[in-house]
């Protein structure tokens, strides 16, 4: 039978390992994309026990091959009556090294930004975050050019805007984004954002979505949402669509942001759509975050805050095997979600994850792509002693 061995390392995987030859009752559970767990026992008078501290790493090997590694998170000391020393032992328990990702949580896009929901939004639309490739939009006067203005719009100066030049003469379904940077200096307070579009809009401020997938049927309606902003620089981005109109037509969006008085009145117009905005049309192909990009972004933010997070062997473009990530549609993560929870969400749909027990590096593959065919064959009467078969239908 293959032999199991265990060695203890410091959390940084530095220095010489301590082999735990006298340990017993060893077990571990290794599951795809999960942290798993382990347990083992050492006599209380075993000198090796003293060097096993919380946060240290235990690497389990099979016939000398590094198999799996876990982090010591708990110790249970078993003591019995004097004279029964053989039963005086300590059980060490913990989770797999993937649990090292639990040392960080998802932060909001901007601390002190608009508190409109406890969600960190990774959009497929890179333009929500990136001005490159954007050009000045075409601004269309609200009242004179388009006969169907939104009812009760609060500002006469607001322009309908769209990228792409003059209105099209034949209808083409289109999607576009427009952006504008602005600064607030009125203290941490509530602002009211008015918006509408023909025929759909999504709006984000500082990368946080403040609308919820507002779609066709709104083009004559003035919509509004209240957001909270701290003093400083901000960016508002509007995704517009025009997907449903069968005749020659063109899209537009309008938006106006006001400071709000304590009595609910509009005080100051801070920013509104006009020709100084930038934007671009884009095709329906998603443009933004990949599963790797989400993790790399969150990891780099955590590292910048001083959190020790395992290294990764993938990036925003390719997985560990060098395979291009499928571009992901939108992904919303609850602010405060721990890193392991992020992995769990991504593992549902996008990726396989595993920790390298030799380097403590997080590997990721396009979902279903980890591993491959092997020569392992199992058969009853040969190398299978028990088989528990379950069929769910």
């Amino acid at each position: 039978m293959p032999e199991v061995s265990v060695a203890r390392y410091t959390a940084a995987y530095g220095g010489s390992p301590t082999t735990l030859d006298e340990s017993w009752g060893r077990s571990w559970m290794d599951r795809l994309s999960e942290a798993g767990g382990f347990a083992l026992r050492l006599q209380n008078d075993d000198p090796d026990l003293a060097v096993c501290g919380f946060g240290d790493v235990l690497r389990f090997s099979v016939d000398g091959t590094a198999a799996w590694a876990g982090v010591i998170e708990a110790k249970t000391v078993q003591r019995v009556a004097p004279g029964e020393e053989a039963d005086e032992y300590t059980e060490l328990k913990g989770r797999g090294t993937m649990a090292l990702l639990d040392s960080f949580v998802v932060y909001p896009e901007v601390l002190g930004g608009p508190l409109v929901g406890d969600v960190r939004f990774f959009t497929s639309l890179a333009y929500f975050f990136d001005d490159s490739g954007l050009a000045t939009v075409t601004a269309v006067d609200l009242e004179t050019v388009e006969q169907f203005g939104p009812v009760n719009w609060p500002s006469d100066t607001t322009k309908k805007v769209r990228p792409g030049g003059s209105p099209v003469t034949t209808h083409t379904p289109e999607e576009f984004v427009v952006r504008k940077a602005f600064t607030t200096a009125d203290g941490d307070r509530t602002y009211r954002l008015f918006f509408t579009g023909d025929d759909g809009v999504d709006i984000a401020i500082d990368g946080v979505r403040v609308t919820q997938d507002v779609r066709p049927g709104m083009w004559q309606e003035t919509r509004q949402v209240d957001v909270r902003l701290a003093d400083g620089d901000h960016v508002i981005a509007i995704q517009g669509t025009n997907l449903d109109f069968p005749a020659p037509n063109y899209s537009w969006v309008v938006a106006a942001l006001y400071t709000l008085g304590s009595d609910g009145t509009l005080v100051t117009l801070v920013v509104e759509t006009d020709a100084t905005w930038v934007g671009a049309q884009h095709d329906p192909v998603p443009l933004g975050f990949t599963p790797g990009g989400v993790l790399v972004t969150l990891r780099s933010e955590a590292v910048a805050r001083g959190v020790a997070v395992p290294a990764v062997s993938f990036d925003a473009a390719e997985d560990t095997a060098g395979t291009a990530w499928p571009i992901a549609p939108d992904l919303s993560l609850p602010v405060g979600l721990k890193g392991l929870g992020v992995l769990a969400q991504l593992a549902e749909t996008y990726a396989d994850f595993a920790m390298d027990p030799e380097t403590l590096t997080l590997h990721a593959w396009v979902k279903g792509a980890k591993g491959g065919p092997t020569a392992a064959v199992f058969a009853r009467g040969d190398n299978v002693t028990e088989m528990d078969h379950e069929v769910n239908g």
Binding site: V62, D213, G371, F378, H389
Partner: protein, 126 residues
Amino acid sequence: MRVTNSYLVRWSGGYTVVADAASVTAHGRHEDFLSVGDAQSTAEAERLALGLLSRVAWPSESIALAIEPSESADTPYVGFEVGDNVVAPDAGGSPQQWRVMGITVTEDDEGNAIYVPELVDDASGS
């Protein structure tokens, strides 16, 4: 029937319905409720629901084997690891390809390691 092939999905903006039409045709409609309150669009909610449906909309098969490796090829972490494909008997005893979704190792009182790979049929393991 434990198959679920139609979710009533609650997302942050309301409700939507996501179904696996092929499974509905094959097994009849079997509904369940799914709350994805953090999802910010119907597209995101639908993607999450479809990810779950890919695992629950069709009958699935899994086995846990207690094995006694006899050579490198059938030794966990030496011949195969989590995520790999191996051959093992199906419910009728015929060899079939499975994906290794987990490996549990436990030492008995004599210090012998008991290796238990958890396998799922290859189609549902991806």
